[in-house]
Amino acid sequence: MLAGDGRTRSQYQPIRDTLNRMGGELEHRADALARSYLDQGVTFDYAGEERAFPLDLVPRIITADEWDVIESGVAQRVKALEAFLADVYGREGSSLPRVVEAGLLPARIIRNSPHFHRAVAGIHPHNEVRCHVSGIDLIRDAEGVFRVLEDNVRVPSGVSYVISNRRAMTNVLPEIFENQHVRPVHDYPRTLLEALRAAAPDGNPDPTVVVLTPGVHNSAYFEHALLARLMGVELVEGRDLVCTGGAVRMKTTDGEQQVDVIYRRIDDEFLDPVQFRPDSLLGCPGLVDSQRAGKVAIANAIGNGVADDKLVYSYVPDFIRFYLEEDPILPNVDTYRCVEPAARDHVLAHLDEMVVKPVDGSGGKGLVMGPKASGATLDALREKLLADPRGWIAQPVVQLSTVPTLINGEFRPRHVDLRPFAVNDGSNVTVLPGGLTRVALPEGQLVVNSSQGGGSKDTWVLAPETDAEETDEPGLPSAEIIVMTPPEMADEDDWQDQQEQQQQQTQQTHQGPGAGAC
């Protein structure tokens, strides 16, 4: 069906109609939602205060056709990252990876990555999986093309919000689910558990799986606890674990019990004081040697950070062609490698038009938005960039599309990103339908995270074979209309997708880079 001005009516229309009919009731629902998040502990720390994680009542909608592209593109990307990690770590000693021998990637880029851990070189995971869970951050550009903004294969977080958001939405706003066929997300814990079990050493058919958390003060603790509970496994801290006889065991009220698979939510550097920071109290001494001896599996693998380094990111499309012999389904955002002199000169000449990012920063840490930065900030950046060109990449500011968002009772366009989660069990890469949509709530804001006024949205992937009642026009084009104007000029009737959701505040969370950035 067509909207009055002749444009195709978007898939948001039924939701908007429903919400409009609710009028003032909406605000009560929003309050109920916030209260229920506080009571459940779905919160983040804001300036020392516990706040409910903001969830927008308007879901973000991804059509079945769009999802086909995202799903296959994310799975392809994960396979390429796995192949790269196997190439880097799965060889004896310091011989050069194939991708380096082929002249596609300088050896230095691997060796200088702060997350390249020589201590795990030569370790072969039982089923050759290193990225059990990946979070691939996507944005949608002004042309409607989904692009990869960054890869997260260390300890990607945020999936608990996907699960909680859906549960909250079905409780608080059951009306909007009527006549919609939304693909469920509640299978995620089972999928993850199966992948973790498949990773057990020696193919143990009944392995003991645990979730390893830094503890209750970690900002992602809620997620660690939720996943442990939904998988029905123990949530352990480093002090619950001990290595004896080369095996990792947890201390229980019935004595020590062997652990086969550790889904760890602790950064590499803190996992094993024998190999990494000797002052870490969060990990368990002997873990790495136990893994090397084939007595325990660690998910995600140690050292994965060499693959989600933002400089390495710029080579991932090459990896897809090299390892998989396929064309990339999802393009990258254009990226300048400051380590290359020509690119560096270009970046330095156009610093105020670029988004400049440190290669190992996650959560938007250290990111500089050129167009919004002061002269002093840019000068300081220029200096840092010249001192350590390997440490930086730059990207043009990308105009993100927007999606409708409820702001003070009205629908307004806001920028969003999307983090789909992929689980690799060794035979299949399963992408959870949807993912975490983070939205920048302040108008025109391109960076989304909770400390900067970010929120999230329930993300709906519509099942294929759209029901007739959902839109009265069966031949509805699958792509949404994209807003091509700058956000402040966007027509609010066009709900397009813009999204980014907020994220939780864990150290590993990433943030929203900017939207445009990217």
């Binding site: 050069l96 300088p106 020589r118 006889g245 024998v274 001494p285 090397r292």
Partner: protein, 289 residues
Amino acid sequence: MNPADRDRSSVRRYQIAHRTHFSYAGTVTASHNEVRMTPPTTTGQTSLESRLRIRPLSWGHTYRDYFGTSVTAIEATGPHGELDIESISTVERYETEPREVTITWDELRDENERDRRSEWLDPRPRTTLAPEVFAWVEHQVAGMTPQEAVKRVIDITWEQLHYQAGVTGVRSSAQDAWEARKGVCQDFSHVAIGLLRQLGIPARYVSGYLTPKKDLEVGQEAIGESHAWVEWWGGSWLGVDPTNLRRVSLDHVVVARGRDYDDVPPFKGVYSGAPLERLSVEVSITRLA
């Protein structure tokens, strides 16, 4: 010289016993460590037999690390007040055919080659010397071939540093030693490696053993020592010993190689319990043949 004489003079067999004893001021409940004390088979060296005895030991696992070193992970989880590590190896050292070194600066500066050997070229915090130190050294080697430059760097290291134990520690940097003008083999090696890398010559740190005097007699046992020296890339890896100005010869036995000391520590790890009270290390070398 008949062939038998040449064999005798160009092959030596050693038995090396490296004993480390930790004694704690009380009870230690758990200890997790890695030991790098096993000489490998490598160019000019054949490892005939290696034994590692650790008391107490609740578990051990041996593997080859990223740099090719044989590592044994050890675990002691019962309560203990002492830890003994005894590594006994039988190693043969033999002369290799000397090759003429013809490498040029142009070859060393080739970007592709530099990338391949970046592990041995890129600066490390422990080995990098202050810019003014490097500038002074660079001036001294101006106009030399790489081989001459290496020799000059080794000489400078030896001239500038005075061998003295106890001034620097196991975590000291090359710059620390340079400023103190004093150090031990670890510091001499770090300084030389740092300067060579800054000149664009790939260099790596070698740890191992050295006989206490040149040309030990057959059957003679002597107190030896752990030692460190340097290898540089001149088309093949070539050893130099900045601490003694001795040629790396049949008196040197290789255990491990790395970018600096941090890649090759004989013993590293963590333990839980009483503080360390006494540490003794003893190396004895017997020439068997």
